[in-house]
């Protein structure tokens, strides 16, 4: 089966700065993946590349098995919701809907109408609240019945209520259409709620990639008294160490149970895990996604 999205050594340079570099990843069809990372991590660049709005500076990428620039027809099967939902502001809701209907070969009026019940068709897009505009944009990308749904910071500017409503609509639509979904966001709590996979980007590189469940399963927090660290049985890699006073807190990747009774072992939250992987001292290491820094093993 062709993956929904695959990138190989993908890089995009903006003037002299690399927005994305050495990005290699595969998102299988049907997955719901959170693309997370701090600002300027390259999330938007990756999505814009996938939507054919940017051309790669190096490397290559395939969307539903095709190059979105060489074969723009693939975009009919891709629902791209750009950050800020930039719909034509002078259009009314019904005009915006008509626009999407007429510019796409496949169109499901029913699903769109269902999602837009709450909005008056004669309201101008420019006067809608951010939440309503984002919902409208979501309805319009779902109307395409996309095989791949790309959402760029859909929660930006939404209040918690609108955010919840958006997620509700998104999950209903996804349940109906069952596309592959990639959500770029820095709101990690929401990602945890809806995504089954996660890709962590920072400074233009993939730092961590995997299933949420297995990532949570393979990482632990170890608490213990401060001491020099040697090798710990069951620990594959120390992701982050922190000390406060005489207390030492380690976030580790484990390859077996940690039985040393001097450590208190706790489960880790996704947010904490992701933050650990993009902590400043972590980013300085040359190739974090591959290498296990030797000096940490004692």
């Amino acid at each position: 089966m062709t993956p929904a999205l695959s990138a190989w050594n993908l890089g995009k340079r903006f003037h002299r700065v690399w927005g994305l570099r050495h990005c290699t990843l595969t998102i299988p069809e049907g997955a719901i993946v959170g693309l997370v990372g701090p600002n300027a991590a390259g999330k938007s660049a990756l999505l814009a590349l996938a939507a054919g709005l940017l051309a790669p500076t190096e490397g290559s990428l395939a969307v539903l098995g095709r190059d979105p620039l060489a074969e723009p027809a693939v975009l009919a099967e891709v629902g791209f919701l750009p950050q800020g939902a930039p719909l034509y502001r002078s259009f009314t809701v019904s005009q915006a809907t008509e626009f999407a209907r007429r510019t796409n070969p496949r169109w499901d009026a029913e699903i769109v109408a269902g999602m837009l019940e709450r909005l008056s068709p004669h309201t101008k897009v420019g006067t809608l609240s951010t939440g309503d505009r984002t919902q409208l944009a979501l309805a319009l990308v779902l109307g395409k019945w996309p095989r791949l749904l790309l959402l760029d910071e859909p929660f930006a500017g939404l209040d918690p209520f609108a955010c919840r409503e958006f997620l509700q609509l998104l999950m209903e639509g996804v349940a109906l259409i069952s596309p592959t979904v990639v959500i770029a966001s820095h709101v990690m709590a929401d990602i945890e709620r809806v995504c089954d996979g996660v890709v962590l980007l920072a400074e233009g590189r993939v730092r961590l990639e995997g299933q949420v469940e297995s990532l949570l399963e393979s990482h632990r927090v170890l608490l213990g008294p401060r001491r020099p660290i040697g090798a710990i049985r069951g620990v594959r890699e120390i992701v982050r160490e922190r000390h406060s006073g005489r207390q030492l807190t380690l976030l580790v990747e484990v390859d077996g149970p940690v039985l040393d009774p001097s450590w208190v072992v706790e489960r880790v939250s996704l947010e904490e895990l992701l933050l650990a992987y993009i902590s400043p001292d972590r980013l300085r290491t040359p190739k974090p996604s591959e290498g296990i820094p030797l000096q940490w093993h004692g």
């Binding site: 008509e98 070969p105 395409k144």
Partner: protein, 315 residues
């Protein structure tokens, strides 16, 4: 895409048609006194421009009375630029400024198709509006054309096929400028500069050479000759065929005055001649076809570049 184009540009079309309507009202209003004076002063009697007695005077009076109006109409030569400034330049620049290209270009319609259909439809509307404007001006200028001809730029540039051609050219330049510069104001400025530059270059360097100019040698005192042609140059030469410089001509006139001789007669008597180089009035439609063809081709080429670029260099 026709629906999309109509939804997004009907306001511009409405403004264009309103401008045309206002122009039509002004044209009809001013044409009435002109037509009245034209027939009242029996100007048709002086046609074709001839040496009939009194015609000089009649034509001069008519031109004195209405010449300034014709000058205003000459100013309509700027109208085609508006298509580039207000329709072409914002077409893509506004998409970039508002970020809406990110939605518009990720639909099933490819952005090449998007730009092609929009450009084609807008070009069509531009041709219709500019064509009607041209027809209106031709109707209004009829009396002037009869007396002064329409080969000279003051009439040539606002009549016939070149008006829609200029407008479509301006539109194409605007679209490409918007794509390259991505800012509406910058694109508008660039469009204006390029439009004026190309128009002036063609007018000064190309149009006089579309066909070999004709020459005629007349007495220095001859008047009224070639009034309906486009006179490119009018050179005074001495009996030996050498060009007479302005100081030398002034000196001759001074001599004539000192000798109490009519300067015209004096200059004639020296054997001096005027060599008039001109494009004859009969070549009007040929020149219109050539110049309109040139600008339509430029517009096509520029649009082709824009369509190629919009696909090659993504946002």
């Amino acid at each position: 895409m026709a629906w999309v184009t109509w939804q997004q540009h009907r306001a511009q079309l409405f403004v264009g048609v309103s401008l045309l309507a206002a122009l039509a009202v002004a044209a009809i209003g001013t044409h009435i006194p002109i037509a009245a004076a034209y027939s009242h002063e029996a100007l048709p009697y002086c046609l074709p421009p001839s040496e009939r007695a009194g015609c000089d005077l009649l034509v001069a009076r008519f031109q004195e009375e209405f010449g300034s109006w014709a000058t205003v109409v000459r100013g309509l030569a700027v109208l085609p630029a508006l298509a580039g400034l207000f329709v072409g330049a914002p077409l893509l620049a506004r998409e970039f400024e508002h970020g809406t290209y990110r939605v518009a270009w990720t639909q099933g319609v490819t952005r090449r198709g998007w730009l092609l259909s929009k450009s084609a439809l807008l070009a069509l509307a531009t041709i219709v509006v500019a064509g009607l404007t041209s027809l209106l001006v031709m109707w209004w200028r009829e009396p002037f054309d009869a007396l002064e001809g329409r080969m000279a730029p003051s009439a040539f540039d606002v009549e016939g096929l070149v008006v829609p051609a200029y407008a479509v050219f301006a539109l194409a330049v605007g679209v490409l400028a918007g794509l390259v510069l991505r800012r509406t104001v910058a694109a508008m400025t660039a469009t204006l500069v390029v439009f004026v530059a190309v128009r002036v270059l063609v007018l000064v360097f190309l149009r006089p050479r579309f066909m070999t100019a004709r020459h005629q040698t007349v007495l220095p005192s001859a008047t009224g000759a070639r009034s309906t042609e486009w006179v490119l140059s009018d050179t005074l030469v001495d009996a030996g065929g050498k060009q007479v410089s302005a100081p030398r001509e002034n000196l001759a006139i001074l001599h004539a005055h000192q000798a109490s001789v009519d300067p015209q007669t004096y200059v004639d008597s020296l054997g001096w001649k005027r060599i008039v180089s001109y494009q004859p009035a009969g070549r009007f439609w040929t020149f219109q076809l050539l110049e309109a063809g040139l600008f339509f081709s430029l517009a096509l080429a520029i649009t082709a570049v824009a369509v190629w670029l919009v696909r090659r260099t993504p946002a």
